[in-house]
């Protein structure tokens, strides 16, 4: 049977993979994917703590996970829409070329 | 005796499982059910192809296949041999891995989806608490496979077909799920087995299937239409519309992969029809109380064949829609009615049983249908045809 910390370490790994992706890739879509991964890592944490927590009948972890899934969906929709419109405007989806806030 | 006959497969499975050592038993049982499902439905697929071709032939006033075997019923065998022996072409520009994976990604989920459909009394391969959700979740994977197929074989027709297919699937998934939701509301459970059990009783001779209630009937019709669109059956078969984009997203497929796609399509059709039966047609229950003796799985498959016959009939009868008509139909007609149907189900749930409930709900179903149809029909001016891609 798998202990709690295994899940926690896994989610930490996922989180940092996502972070790395968001940090080092140029394409905005991949950055978004990385962020999605981070969210999922958080979800994994919620579920794991629900399952190993003191009173699982409260269902808090699950409910929270479901909510965060829904929020992630909304976030993905809006983010991708943003990326598309940015692409239309700049003709690129590379985050390091979209720095018009600089000057 | 009838009991025995009814449960024969279950008993056989148990007997087989019992042979295996204990820690293996779960896997063994899963294996057996999977094997059974694959066997049964693959052969059903073979049968169906013949039936369809013959049926279409008759509708179009010609003989179908009638050379191979008695009445041409061995035709699928021949076709199978042909496809297996054909060369497996892969375009040079294609993305090999994805191109290879696409058919598998289509076939595996549809078989998985069949797992939650109860084929008979105690004959659901897996009885999960949220089976319906499982069904839809797995069904969502097919869109991915379509995309993979369309994108990987670098061909503008296939990409176009994939885009159409995905757009169509996404738009019709909404009414599909919404019309299923009414049943969930009534039975208060997502488990397919419980849903079937909820339609078990009889009033006199008549069964208590959901299709025999106003909301159930409306839901059933909506569900069938959406199902046809989900599995790219005509009149919703734009993605592979031969006349426009030669064969949609599997132009570039040939040989065994193509066969897999073909299989996947049909299995998907079976799965969704099976779900329709489970949700609305009382699953494996007998249509009349005194026919209860006949084994349940027979009933299930009888109903399945009926539905497939309906699909074939529709395919032979109706012309193909246009893209914009398709989308309008989904969003302006199906969706509102599905939403309304949920409301009707609520009314049905909270009104006391009786004729008043019947009348009220029927009116609630029929009135808006007529009005909406009227409005849309008046709106539908045959104008210049416009394309919108990307």
């Amino acid at each position: 049977m798998t202990p709690l910390h295994a899940y926690l370490v896994l989610s930490a790994l996922l989180f940092s993979i996502g972070l790395a992706g968001a940090l080092i890739r140029r394409n905005a879509i991949i950055v978004l994917i990385g962020i999605e991964l981070m969210l999922n890592a958080a979800n994994l944490n919620f579920i794991a703590f629900w399952r190993f927590g003191p009173n699982p009948q409260a269902l808090t972890g699950i409910v929270f996970a479901i909510f965060s899934i829904a929020v992630a969906a909304a976030e993905a929709a809006v983010g991708l829409a943003l990326i598309i419109s940015i692409y239309r405007h700049y003709q690129t989806a590379n985050v390091d070329e979209i720095n018009s806030m600089k000057d | 005796m009838a009991e025995m006959l009814d449960q024969i497969f279950v008993l056989a499975k148990h007997w087989l499982v019992a042979l295996a050592p204990d820690q293996w038993q779960p896997f063994i049982s899963a294996l057996i059910s999977a094997a059974g499902i694959i066997l049964v439905f693959a052969s059903l697929f073979a049968l169906t192809t013949v039936l369809e071709r013959k049926g279409l032939g008759r509708i179009q006033n010609r003989y179908g296949p009638n050379r191979v075997g008695p009445f041409g019923f061995l035709q699928p065998l021949a076709d199978g041999l042909k496809t297996l022996t054909k060369e497996d072409l892969v375009p040079r520009a294609a993305d090999r891995i994805v191109h290879y994976l696409a058919p598998l990604v289509l076939v595996v989920p549809v078989f998985l989806a069949l797992a939650v459909v109860p084929l008979g009394r105690n004959m659901a391969a897996v009885d999960v608490d949220s089976g319906l959700l499982f069904f839809f979740a797995v069904g969502a994977a097919t869109e991915l496979s379509v995309f993979m197929a369309g994108w990987s074989s670098r061909n503008k027709y296939s990409l176009l077909g994939a885009m159409r297919a995905i757009a169509q699937m996404i738009s019709y998934e909404v009414p599909l799920i919404l019309s299923a939701v009414t049943v969930v509301m009534m039975t208060g459970s997502l488990s397919t087995v419980k849903i079937v059990a909820a339609q078990g009783g009889y009033t006199g001779w008549l069964p208590q299937w959901f299709v025999l209630t106003p909301w159930g009937f409306a839901g059933f019709v909506l569900f069938l239409i959406a199902a046809a669109a989900e599995s790219n059956r005509s009149p919703f078969d734009l993605p592979e519309g031969e006349s426009e984009i030669i064969a949609g997203y599997y132009i570039e497929y040939s040989g065994f992969k193509f066969a897999l796609f073909f299989l996947g399509e049909y299995i998907g059709l079976f799965a969704v029809s099976g779900l329709a039966i489970t949700l609305f047609l009382g699953g494996w229950h007998a249509p009349l109380s005194f026919l209860d003796g006949i084994p349940s799985y027979l009933w299930f498959f009888a109903k399945l064949l009926c539905l497939i016959a309906v699909f074939i009939w529709v395919r032979g009868t109706l012309p193909r829609l246009r893209m914009d008509q398709l989308m309008n139909f989904a969003w302006k007609f199906m969706l509102p009615l599905a939403l309304l149907n949920i409301g009707v189900a609520t009314v049905w749930r909270f009104m006391p049983a009786g004729t008043t409930r019947w009348v009220a709900c029927s009116l609630l179903v029929v009135g808006p249908y007529v009005l909406l149809a009227r409005a849309l029909f008046d709106r539908a001016a045959i104008g210049k045809r416009t394309y919108r891609y990307g």
Binding site: L19, A22, L23, I24, V31, V95, D96, I98, N99, S100, M101, K102 | -
Partner: protein, 706 residues
């Protein structure tokens, strides 16, 4: 009855919601909806009034309240509610009635506007909020409605938002009132922290009732103020902002950029009176204090002074304005000042009486002005109008009635009685005589500028053809809602015409009321005051002839006649044929006139203060930038240069090498600094990651240590 009181605001709210859904075309629908809802509201509020009447006549004010818990968090429970007492009843009827008339009027007035439905949606919303404000029994609910009212006012002032002036005015109004509302909110918070409830009346537990009052009065805060005084002063700030008292009066005149019915309903009759109503509503709070300066409490004294100063201040400005609606706006401000005086010195009844009468005749005046503007093709400059009494007789008659009422023409008109009440109260006010004189002066000015206006607009001969300013041209185009090109430009406009009966009808009704209402509050038969104070009213002609009453009455009459005469003498005798000639007042005191015409430069002063602040701040930043940061960089480069100079006397290579090195360092440093601020998301994200790490480490160590 009390159970169903909430229905009154509900109808207009419903109407607003429905007409918000209406298409632009469905004008009839929207208008009918709004008017019908107002009719229903009026009917209900008449029932409420009847209920209040049945309650009245006994001793003490009878008051029904209905409270309900709104929500509770932790153990605090917030509850809202509504109250029905004479104050509410009177206001209800007034708001509904005037509102209804103005709704009907604006059907005619806005007939050509393309955003007809939007207009009615906002109007109904406003009506709902105002009614809610009137009958709310909880300071919280009151505040909500208060803000809603402000919002609708903003929306309606900026209704023709394509006019830059309109949108600017809307913003100005919104922001200026916010200043007051901030204080108001603070007051609410303080009150809540002190008493723990925001209900006015709650069977003894309310914040205006005995227990809370005694508590508030005893508790003293910073500079010897009792809590009650402090709170009431804060609340008064809100009132100042809302009903345009000095120094927050600047928004009200600009608010005239909105459509005229709006000016009539919101910025003359109801909303601006909300401030006065607020003071009247929480009057116990104002009046309750131990250390009053012989009778008058600190709060009330402040109210009085602000009111009286405003009254005169605004009146003086009004004498020198030339925009038809601005004059009325300033007169509104000054009348509000009168009401404040009345509240401060005479108590609720006096102030409220003037509020009610003023609502009627000021609405009448505005609507009259509206019909003038309507009839003269959007011309608002009084100097370009004139001789209209021939063209629009009904408007002239009603307008004259309103003007006489406003300037308090004796015995016949309502304005006289209400103003006289105030002056009477001021006369008896013990702590200072100044408010009395200020009030008299204000009355004089009121009579004067109203006469001036009427002579300008209705007498003399029509100067409409001459004075067609481009501004009014634009206004006309904007109002017609057509682009300027395709609008039929008229060089010589057709003669002014009488407005449609839809607009004239309300004028007549209002005119009748602005005469009749006065007799409900004469000293002889002070029914209104009695009703508000909850004592039975008895008729006695004798009270009319008491020396004090009579003297004040005579005095005010004399003042009024003086004002009228003065106005006639300066403007009525020889109206100038064409509007070149300077204003008669300008001839006498050019400087004073200029000062008044520019409204005592208040706007300029504010502008100077605010802009100056910003400029100074910017200067500071600039200085910081110029000397500190830049200086640092300068120093670095200087150092480098120095090094280079030193190196010149050494080897050639060292020079080059050192120089290049140093420059590279500098550029590197600059790059290092600038990399923090390149627009790249990922770098920010990276920094966040580092910060997270550091934070977590700190936390861990903190836990270890603890």
């Amino acid at each position: 009855m009390i159970k169903f009181l909430w229905l009154i605001p509900m109808f207009p709210l419903l109407a607003a919601a429905l007409s918000a859904l209406a298409k632009q075309r469905q004008r009839k629908w929207a208008a009918g909806l709004a008017i019908g809802s107002m009719l229903l509201a009026l009917a209900l509020s008449l029932c409420a009034f009847g209920a209040a009447l049945r309650g009245a006549g006994g001793d003490g004010v009878t008051r029904q309240v209905f409270n309900f818990p709104w929500f509770k968090f932790a153990e605090i429970q917030l509850s809202l509610g509504w109250v029905l007492d004479p104050l509410t009843a009177v206001m209800l009827v007034m708001v509904c009635f005037v509102g209804l008339l103005i709704f009907i009027y604006s059907v005619g007035y806005m007939a050509h506007d393309e955003n007809f439905t939007r207009f009615f949606c906002f109007l109904s919303l406003f009506a709902a909020a105002m009614l809610g404000l009137v009958l709310s029994n909880s300071l919280l609910l009151f505040f909500m409605c208060w803000e809603l009212v402000g919002l609708t006012s903003y929306l309606l002032i900026g209704f023709w938002y394509h006019k830059p002036s309109a949108s600017a005015a809307a913003k100005k109004a919104f922001i200026t009132t916010r200043i007051g509302d901030l204080a108001f909110l603070l007051g609410i918070a303080w009150l809540y922290s002190q008493t723990g409830t925001l209900l006015f009346y709650d069977a003894g537990k309310g914040c205006l009732e005995q227990s809370a009052m005694s508590l508030l009065v005893t508790r003293t805060t910073a500079i010897g103020l009792t809590a009650s005084t402090g709170i009431s002063l804060l609340l008064f700030c809100g009132a100042v902002g809302k009903s345009g008292q000095v120094p927050l009066h600047v928004w009200l005149p600009d608010a005239m950029e909105g459509p005229t019915p709006v000016s009539a309903l919101i910025h003359a009759a109801t909303m601006v009176a909300a401030g006065v109503f607020l003071v009247a509503r929480v009057y116990p709070l104002f009046a309750s204090s131990m250390l009053g300066i012989d009778g008058a409490t600190t709060a009330l004294t402040v109210v009085t002074w602000v009111g009286s100063i405003t009254a005169v201040f605004a009146a003086t400005i009004a004498t020198a304005q030339s925009d038809l609606k601005r004059i009325l706006a300033y007169s509104t401000v000054s009348q509000l000042g009168f009401m404040m005086m009345g509240l401060g010195m005479g108590g609720v009844a006096v102030g409220m009486f003037h509020l009610i009468t003023h609502a009627f005749f000021k609405a009448l005046l505005f609507l009259g002005a509206g019909s003038v503007i309507h009839g003269c093709h959007e011309e608002q400059d009084v100097r370009c109008l004139g001789g209209l009494r021939r063209f629009m007789p009904v408007t002239f008659a009603t307008y004259a009635i309103g003007m006489l009422a406003l300037s308090g023409f004796p015995l016949l008109f309502s304005g006289f009685w209400s103003k006289d009440e105030i002056l009477h109260a001021a006369h008896h006010w013990s702590s200072s005589a100044w408010p009395f004189y200020l009030g008299l002066f204000g009355a004089l000015l009121t009579a004067f500028y109203m006469t001036r206006q009427v002579f300008y607009v209705f007498f003399g001969n029509c100067r409409l053809a001459l004075g067609r300013t481009t501004g009014s041209e634009q206004r006309m185009v904007a109002h017609a809602g057509l682009p300027a090109t395709q609008h039929p430009r008229v060089e010589l406009p057709p003669d002014p015409h009488e407005s449609p009966s839809l607009m004239v009808g309300p004028l007549i009704i209002l005119a009748i009321f602005s005469i009749v209402l006065g007799f409900f509050g004469t000293p002889a038969w002070p029914w209104f005051q009695a009703f508000l104070d909850g004592v039975p009213a008895q008729l006695s002609m004798a009270r009319l002839f008491e020396s004090s009453v009579l003297s004040v009455m005579g005095l005010s009459t004399a003042v009024v006649f003086l004002g009228l005469g003065l106005g006639w003498w300066m403007y009525g005798r020889k109206p100038d044929a064409l509007n070149e000639g300077p204003d008669a007042l300008e001839v006498i005191w050019p400087n004073l006139f200029e000062l008044l015409r520019r409204k005592y430069f208040v706007d300029e002063i504010y502008e100077w203060a605010v802009v100056g602040l910003h400029a100074r701040w910017a200067l500071a930043c600039d200085w910081l930038d110029r000397w500190v940061w830049n200086g640092a960089v300068q120093l670095c480069s200087l150092a480098v240069v120095g090094v280079a100079w030193a190196d010149r006397f050494f080897d050639e290579y060292i020079i080059n090498g050192g120089f290049d090195q140093a420059c590279r360092r500098l550029r590197g440093g600059g790059g290092l600094l600038s990399r923090l601020q390149d627009g790249r998301v990922q770098n920010y994200l990276r920094i966040i990651g580092i910060a997270l790490t550091v934070l977590a480490l700190i936390l861990i160590w903190g836990c270890r240590a603890a």
